[in-house]
Symmetry: C2
Subunit: 435 residues, 2 copies
């Protein structure tokens, strides 16, 4: 199920954690049955926020970078899960083509380490792995230096003579793995690929993907989960609303956004009241419905802040990754993070391949508050290593828990995000007949 | 594919190891394709012998004990593989019934630790796990003390009111996992179970299973594998012959056995000559075609030894586990072991769940020679832990190898045994329509 990792939190289990741990057999069975009906994304990372009173995913990434931030002890688990995934899509695979981000090539050595780690994982499943570039600048094999002195080589993509397959000059892959979220649109070279497994599918990319579809699916998943273990789904699900056609830079939709913020803040306040949290100050996060890369995300505590946004702030909300313009916005209940590492605010990020939790890390930011987005320049990463309690089986413990696995709870909530992503992908598939 | 574990061998890779590592992508693809056609046993352990010049399975156990001998770091990998296995047989499982050995209950605390470890593994997949006993003496829940002070409880098995299901008084399992090799026959309470998954199937038990069927299947697997990576299959496959209806105690079949030994010794000698090993002394292992528990196994270097067996030795060959009489014998090429731990002779044992290698250990025996069976009183177990090389990706290494994973080679040969067991189970299934 979920590896037993050491979390930043210590001390007694919170109520929600206890409830989830107690329901382990029911939860695992439910996931097994859901995966009979739905196909998990090939890989996925989920950013969580643990507020103590609630624990919820705040971002579900279908093109996870950051595999290099997982503890190296996680590698065998990751390779095994990758093996299961490859098995499903392309058992006769010899070759895997990995398509990384283009912009990141030159400017982000950390991202390149993620690419190197992904190559290592898939090589260890026994595949030949090479890198193809979506960048028009890559017209021949191009070396990219890794911080450790090793080299990656990206190569130009080519379509086969009959136009039906995608590969490299002398490399015909069975599986094409995107680690590029397609924020700048779907390149024509990725179109009409039917003979090979293109994973994740192009509609998982931000050219087409919308957070609102994910959140809608997550509402359903959280509701089912709440019923399953008899909790208020709000405990794992932030409230949210969508505001369409906003262009803050040209003052279009500002009022609608302010109203939505105001309405969501009241709803959160009501929830806080219901749970007797009189001191808790509600806040919301405003972010584009289409992809971001940690850009264009605002923390807002009062609707008036929307009206008072400076021109600079407005401009910031209008430009997201690769120049994609913001039109629709999501207003999401802010979940403060309860966890700290060395006094710096921290949020857990859980990594999954296929249906399996393969590891996690804390994203830590020394300059940010408990109510702010931590996926921003200056963030650091603390890998989670195995907790050593598992060495001594405690047979008197509740079934499934042994020594209580706090990280298990994170793995469960992350998998709720994974399941929602699976529903989202099914429902937004432009060619649903393939399911 | 196979975790990167630290083996006892150090120094440069042997030729066979190199050949296997170089062929990693082809081998992994081949296994993936074979598992599309054949169902791996639920779990399996394979005893290997590494002679330097050859590396071969010498025993394939379908009811592995000894999960407690795996390093505790292996637990997450084992749980993930168990999850994949449960998924396949019974995704809606809530309950798993584990049926351990009966004799071992009172007399073998080490075996009980294996049972405790298995319970821990399956609890961590999110199942309720309880123990059912095949012993008629267990008429009520019976506590069994573990060496660490914890308790296991075995309970009497019951059939449901309509007779169709097997469980405990208030426990209806979806999966029934046998960790009892049924040497003493198939108890009637295990018969006609069609609504639940009984794993492994009863024909995997020594009441019905015969080594000769396994070896026949292994011959085919080794042949295919040899072709795949262009090696002489003999390098992974000991020569063998079967001698039927032998009763040494009553001097029946002694001559036939001596002839078979003599003939196999010449064949081995010829092979040694072919490989230029003039100094190598051939020997054979004689063992019952039906199950053993490390008993009734002889090392023989000359056919005359068969004729000169003492009455005591003859009697030993006639009694194997739970009083099953020996009639058919297997004569198998002896593979000396090349590996030592602290001057004691050692052989690797590889553990698998479903198609996944989940760990291994060395069986070590200080009192035995390199040409003797080590599965005997006095043997000790050295868990294999993860090698730490994987922390540093070596991108210039051959695909799939990174830092050369010596244990990978063991994992490959062990999986050849796993695949042979899968073919064997298919072919010996008394109700083949279920495939």
């Amino acid at each position: 199920m979920v590896p037993h990792l050491a979390t930043a939190l210590t001390g007694p289990l919170l109520d929600l954690e206890k409830k989830i741990l107690d329901a382990t057999p029911a939860i695992e069975r439910w996931f097994r049955l859901e995966w009979q009906e739905h196909t998990p994304p090939f890989y996925c990372s989920v950013d969580l926020r643990n507020a103590g009173y609630k624990l919820a995913p705040v971002d579900t990434n279908l093109f996870p970078g950051g595999f290099n931030n997982l503890a190296s002890e996680m590698l065998p688990l990751t390779v095994q899960a990758a093996m299961a995934a490859i098995d499903k899509y392309c058992p006769d695979a010899r070759n895997l083509l990995l398509i990384p981000e283009t912009q990141a090539q030159s400017r982000n050595p950390t991202y390149l380490q993620n690419v190197a780690r992904l190559m290592q994982i898939f090589r260890q499943t026994g595949l030949h792995v090479r890198l193809g570039s979506l960048s028009p600048d890559v017209t021949q094999p191009t070396p990219l230096a890794l911080p450790d002195g090793n080299m990656l080589v990206v190569e130009p993509l080519v379509r086969s003579a009959n136009g039906r397959r995608l590969g490299l000059v002398d490399f015909d892959p069975c599986t094409i793995l995107l680690n590029n979220d397609l924020s700048s649109g779907i390149p024509s070279i990725l179109e009409n690929i039917h003979e090979q497994s293109l994973l994740p599918p192009v509609h998982a990319g931000w050219a087409l993907r919308r957070k609102s579809n994910h959140l809608k699916a997550f509402d359903e998943v959280a509701k089912k989960f709440g019923k399953l273990i008899d909790i208020d789904p709000w405990l794992v699900n932030p409230l949210h609303a969508k505001v369409s056609e906003v262009d803050l830079e040209h003052d279009q939709g500002t009022e609608e956004l302010a109203d939505a913020v105001s309405s969501l803040l009241s709803k959160i306040k009501k929830k806080y009241k219901e749970y007797g949290m009189k001191e808790q100050k509600p806040f919301v996060i405003v972010k584009p419905d289409a992809g971001t890369y940690g850009m264009g995300i605002m923390t807002i505590k009062d609707a008036s802040e929307v009206r008072d946004l400076s021109l600079k702030q407005r401009a910031k909300m209008s430009v997201v990754k690769d120049g994609l313009a913001v039109t629709d916005l999501i207003v999401q209940e802010g979940v403060p993070t309860f966890e700290k590492i060395d006094d710096a605010v921290a949020e857990p990020v859980v990594y999954m391949i296929d249906r399996y939790v393969v590891g996690g890390f804390y994203r830590v930011h020394g300059e940010r508050g408990i109510d702010q987005n931590l996926n921003a320049p200056g963030s650091q990463y603390v890998p989670l290593a195995f907790a050593q309690q598992h060495a001594v089986p405690d047979l008197k413990a509740k079934p499934g828990t042994a020594a209580p696995n706090r990280f298990y709870v994170y793995g469960v909530v992350a998998r709720l995000g994974l399941l929602a992503a699976s529903l989202e992908m099914e429902r937004t598939d432009p060619n649903p007949e393939v399911y």
